[in-house]
Assembly symmetry: C2
Homo-oligomer: 247 residues x 2
């Protein structure tokens, strides 16, 4: 399936690993990026989880998600410090050994000055047995893929580079198309019409997203479908409903 | 336990409900807010999930999370449109009926002009049986609490107002204290020292957070503990290690 278009829908989950997200210390920037990226590839992101730096929590989440979705992507916990425990947790999830990987050692030995590939840095060369490496153009220390699980760094610039390295290897489905209709009204004014339009266009997914600014509510109506004709027809009905109500 | 200090650790999960987050159309702003808010109250956020607008997915996630954590907070899906299905999903999770709630009806009837409390708006008054209402100072339509699950709006300004309404009712644990030591070096240079400091201070959690800017890596080292003396001692050791390495 590598790189081919799959007829079926291709699904994914994203697992964010890190105490710092749960404590609020770090504000996640990866969820939105991965959501956009997978959508643009034609892969449906179906679930996101954030879990702490805890071996059991990471392994349990990976095992739950890899059984349910075509792909799992993780971010965080593959650096050189004691709190970077993703590699050992993934190895435990798959029941495989975690050893120094000769390919990763070779990459990192040439990256550091002689004598500077210290024991801490060698932690970044521990890769679960049977995994492929994921290239890291930013700082060399690789991610890895094992089964359907892709393990990436948490630093956004590195994670994004790793997604670019992974993308050509992924099976993709038909792209989910989308159109947005702006409605200058609170969503409750158009709710009945939207419900009828949704019923009339079962091949589409219609979402209504209100926002509030200075006490005034406006609404963005998003129509999504893998079928372009269905999308256009539903979007036209939504635009007509908005015009009717305003006019 | 309402409003009291609990000796034990109080835990929470946050469930974000909405296709728009998973498609990338909307970038979540609630996870970081809730993480900061709960941390400041002395409640440990242990897990976050994002699920789509799907009854089974929402109900399954709520049931998994409410069994594991002291509290569950949800955001999204309680508006007036057809894609707002959180209330019915939560009712299903708890196995209780979902009917028009007289308290919610009374709130919303006075909010809208006569004759304007339409069937779509009445959707926002459907509350699972046995739930308490959560006040919405921004736009009136209430959230609700059932069991240990707090159901809030997805619009950030409304969700934040609902958190303020909920906060006085929550049991809280001892506040997790934190100190940050900045280290102008890649984290791999201090990794061995941090590991030894972590071992020497088991009452603390030491996290190392690298960031990259224009090819240069710096590190923030965050020490957390509920024991102030342990926190100070570990932070002093980290600061000493940084000074040693920088020379």
């Amino acid at each position: 399936m590598t790189g081919e278009k799959a007829d079926d829908v291709v699904t994914a989950a994203f697992l964010v690993i890190g105490d710092e997200i749960l404590s609020g210390r770090t504000k996640d920037k990866n969820i939105g990026f991965v959501a956009d990226y997978l959508t643009s590839l034609g892969i449906d992101l179906r679930e996101v989880r954030v879990v702490p730096d805890d071996r059991t929590e990471i392994a349990d989440a990976v095992n739950a998600l890899r059984a349910r979705y075509t792909y799992v992507f993780t971010s965080g916990g593959i650096g050189p410090t004691h709190d970077d425990i993703t590699a050992e947790s993934i190895a435990a999830a798959f029941g495989v050994p975690l050893n120094l990987d000769p390919r990763a050692v070779a990459l990192l030995e040439t990256h550091y000055a002689p004598g500077q590939f210290t024991p801490a840095r060698q932690r970044m060369a521990r890769i679960p047995e049977g995994a492929d490496l994921i290239e890291n153009k930013v700082s060399k220390a690789p991610g890895f893929r094992i089964g359907n699980v892709h393990v990436m760094a948490g630093v956004p610039a590195i994670m994004q580079a790793m997604m670019d390295a992974i993308a050509p290897t992924l099976a993709t489905g038909r792209i989910m198309l989308s159109e947005t209709v702006a409605a200058d009204m609170p969503e409750s004014r158009i709710a009945d019409r939207l419900s009828a339009i949704q019923d009339a266009h079962p091949e589409t997914l219609i979402g209504s997203y209100p926002s509030a600014s200075e006490g005034k509510f406006t609404t963005q109506i998003v129509i999504r479908s893998r079928n372009e004709a269905a999308l256009k027809a539903a979007a036209a009905d939504v635009a007509e409903a908005v015009a009717d109500i305003l006019g």
